[in-house]
């Protein structure tokens, strides 16, 4: 239970309006910041807000509000809150809600609804938002009476944060906000008869897992998002250091296990490193911890890790055997399960298996663009690796979706959890800037870097204005290649090089920054990157850096969608392509 906020007067037993009760409940749930946009049906709630110790961030679009709440939740581990009016306000939240749903982010969305007497009449700004959001929320509620508000909001927070977390929407009619009732609040444990968020693993499953681990010669551990959610980083490190099992991370699992740990192989999947995917295909045991075998991770399921027995540690029983058939399912909290397994697994040196992986690693590292000279060009991978070096790997990075997202995953090494926020499941362009703003509110002491493409940035760039109004600082690195880069890459590889609707004319991003009274910097040479990063770090307000990178670069290696995980497209080695540098070792690392 959250301790009562000292700034909150005790008004239990008093007659309050529904609007006041909304804030009473939110503050009691520990809410200090919320992100939103007012409108007709939520006006009573906004009017009551000034009586309460909650900071409201006015966004420029409700999608921004839901992404900010999401970013806040990802960065803090707390429930993020957004608020919007009925109709278009509520529907504008949906992209952000779906983003949070696919990545299991705890979020509570409060929406206003037309007065209960008008529901179903197609009243002005009426949308059936509970109906609309059934498939993209963990649960949702329609509240039509003031006395339902407090228990419903309490329940919403409980559902959002417990078990496998997710977004919960509470739709509150205008008359429920306006009417009054006696305010009551209970701190008792919530019991929902049909809701069981916590599963404990069965002893026989643990025993089977221990036997498989004991028998394995070539085991590999998958670190997914669940490790971060269950705060299991230390448990994984302990487990890995005892067993010497190498670790492969999912995109959302990056940072859950330190990137620079000697047992960390890197990211797996479509744009994972060759040696990681090859190790998976060669493994005889996979221990999948807190991940869900997404299609971007497995490639062709028929040929996926055929030689490996599979242990799946996962909190959500509906994920077991969904995509990949597993030998031993363990339903439970990842951290607790690993701690349970730890005393029963053996110390092991595994030098044969680890040497083998090192060998395949050596083969592919020579193709790594990071190790190649720039030949006067500005490569996105170099930019991101430089940002990593000059921020000393300590920044909280929020990425958008596309090529830059994959380069970030490959070249920014995350050693700490909750320092990489990215839309993994839904792949929502436009996520980065608003989520970065939300993250900054959650971690004001962190240096927040928003890394996005020229396409994604323009989807939500209006939120720069929110940065200016709130006076908060994020550093925005636009990886500007003049294309919708990832789609262009697919067109190059799979659609005969026909660049349909991917060339992108952008405004002058430096001037856009300046129009918001913010700082804008343009970078066209590798030699200018360091200076730009340092200026951005030292500048007080939000800084936008327009990195004019090589236009037709591609993310390598790549497993085409649905292809075998071991059939990867490698960075071309032919030295005759002028954008493909010859093999030499560059100055980095």
């Amino acid at each position: 239970m959250t301790p009562a906020n000292p700034k909150l007067k005790n008004r239990i037993g008093e007659s309050l309006s529904g609007a006041q009760i909304i804030w009473e409940a939110l503050v009691r749930e520990g809410v200090e910041v919320c992100f939103g946009y007012p409108g007709g049906a939520i006006m009573p709630a906004y009017d009551a807000m000034i009586q309460y110790p909650v900071h409201h961030v006015l966004t420029r679009h409700e999608q921004g509000a839901s992404h900010m709440a999401d970013g806040y939740a990802r960065a803090s581990g707390q429930v993020g809150v957004c608020i919007a009016t009925s109709g278009p306000g509520a529907t504008n939240l949906i992209t952000g809600i779906a983003t949070a749903m696919l990545d299991s982010i705890p979020m509570v969305c409060i929406t206003g609804q037309v007065p209960s007497a008008l529901i179903g009449s197609d009243a002005f700004q009426e949308t059936d938002i509970t109906g609309c959001t059934i498939p993209v929320t963990k649960h949702n509620y329609l509240v039509t009476k003031p006395e339902q508000i407090a228990p419903t909001i309490r329940e919403a927070f409980y559902v959002a944060r417990s078990g496998r977390p997710g977004p919960v929407l509470v739709d509150i009619t205008k008359d429920a906000q306006q009417q009054s009732c006696v305010f009551e609040w209970s701190d008792d444990e919530i019991v929902l008869p049909g809701y069981r968020p916590d599963y404990a693993p069965l002893p026989e499953q643990l025993e089977e897992a221990v036997a498989l681990i004991k028998a394995a010669k070539r085991p590999i551990l998958f670190a997914g998002h669940g490790i971060i959610k269950s705060q299991a980083t230390d448990a994984v490190i302990e487990f890995v250091e005892k067993t010497n099992i190498p670790v492969a991370c999912t995109l959302l699992g990056l940072g859950g296990f330190p990137a620079t740990h000697p047992r960390n192989l890197g990211m797996m999947g479509m744009h994972g490193e060759t040696w990681v995917n090859k190790a998976i295909q060669d493994a005889d045991l996979i221990i999948a911890a807190g991940m869900r075998f997404d299609d971007r991770v497995t490639g062709n399921l028929k040929t996926y890790a055929q030689n490996a027995k599979k242990i799946h540690i996962e909190l959500d029983p509906a994920e077991i055997n969904k995509n990949v058939w597993v030998d031993v399912p363990i339903v439970g909290d990842v951290g607790e399960v690993l701690a349970d397994l730890l005393p029963h697994v053996e110390q092991c040196d595994r030098s044969e298996w680890l040497d083998y992986i090192d060998e395949i690693k050596g083969d592919s590292a020579v193709r790594d663009i990071k190790n190649l000279p720039d030949l006067g060009k500005l490569y996105a991978a170099h930019v991101i690796h430089d940002i990593y070096r000059f921020t000393e790997g300590k920044a909280l990075v929020v990425t958008d979706v596309g090529q830059h997202q994959m380069w970030e995953a490959q070249y920014y090494k995350h050693d700490y959890p909750r320092k990489l926020l990215t839309s993994g499941g839904l792949g929502t362009m436009g996520f980065a800037l608003p989520a970065g703003i939300g993250a900054k509110f959650a971690q004001p002491g962190d240096s927040v870097w928003v890394i996005c493409g020229d396409g994604g940035f323009q989807m939500t760039q209006a939120e720069l204005s929110t940065c200016a109004q709130e006076g908060i600082k994020v550093n925005v690195a636009i990886i500007n290649n003049g294309f919708l880069g990832m789609v262009r890459q697919w067109q190059e590889f799979f659609f005969g090089g026909r660049y349909v609707a991917t060339p992108l004319l952008s405004p002058d991003f430096v001037k856009i920054a300046e129009a918001h009274s913010l700082t804008g910097i343009r970078v066209e040479q590798r030699s200018e990157v360091e200076e730009a990063v340092r200026v951005a770090e030292a500048t007080e307000g939000t800084v936008v850096i327009d990195f004019r990178v090589e236009q037709e670069d591609a993310v390598y290696p790549m497993v085409p969608a649905g292809a075998n995980l071991h059939d990867m497209i490698q960075r071309p080695a032919a030295p005759n392509q002028d954008h493909n540098p010859i093999f030499e070792t560059g100055e980095d690392e």
Partner: protein, 180 residues
């Protein structure tokens, strides 16, 4: 993977607005094909019972169950496909039937243990309750007379004998008054 068979689930849900929509939406969204879905109140206040019949292999059935359990309003799910059950469908069938045909039609009803419940000079309405194949059998025999109208429920099902669905399951509090 096993092959797809008709599965029957008994699903106990909170009797609240929109719950049927949520359950149906889950089946639609995950592409589980519903054969029939029947819902009604139970003797327990605030609890409704659904009987859902759908095509699924063992693994899909397990995931349907797991996904149903994830819903906040779902209290208890029982896959009763391979249990001893009583399954019933109710159908009302209106057929062409003149004076000369009445005896024959009524005899057919007797064989199928159906009942004639309405009659006019040239037609007769029959009510039948039973397992789906029995109802289908009657319908095929009546077809030659000319079926004018037919309405039937989805399957409702209950396990036989000692196994009770009395909501004594530990996840369902004995007193439901404070669990709204």
């Amino acid at each position: 993977m096993t092959r797809s068979v008709k599965r029957t689930f008994a699903v106990f849900v909170e009797d609240k607005p929109g719950v049927l929509n949520r359950v149906a939406s889950l089946f639609r969204r995950r592409s589980y094909n519903i054969d029939s879905l029947n819902v009604g109140t139970t003797h327990e206040p605030g609890v409704s019972r659904m009987t859902i019949v759908c095509d699924a292999d063992t693994d899909t059935a397990r995931r349907i169950e797991a996904n149903l359990y994830k819903m906040v309003n779902v209290l208890w799910v029982d896959d009763i496909t391979h249990k001893q059950t009583i399954d019933r469908v109710l159908a009302l069938i209106k057929v062409n039937c003149d004076r000369d045909q009445r005896d024959e039609v009524l005899k057919i009803c007797e064989v199928f243990r159906a009942r004639a419940i309405d009659m006019s000079p040239d037609r007769i309405t029959i009510e039948i309750t039973g397992a789906r194949d029995k109802v289908e059998g009657l319908v095929s025999v009546l077809k030659p007379f000319g079926i004018l109208e037919l309405v039937q429920t989805g399957t409702v099902a209950m396990t036989r004998g000692v196994e009770k669905h009395d909501l004594a399951h530990p996840t369902v509090p004995a007193s439901r008054n404070d669990a709204a």
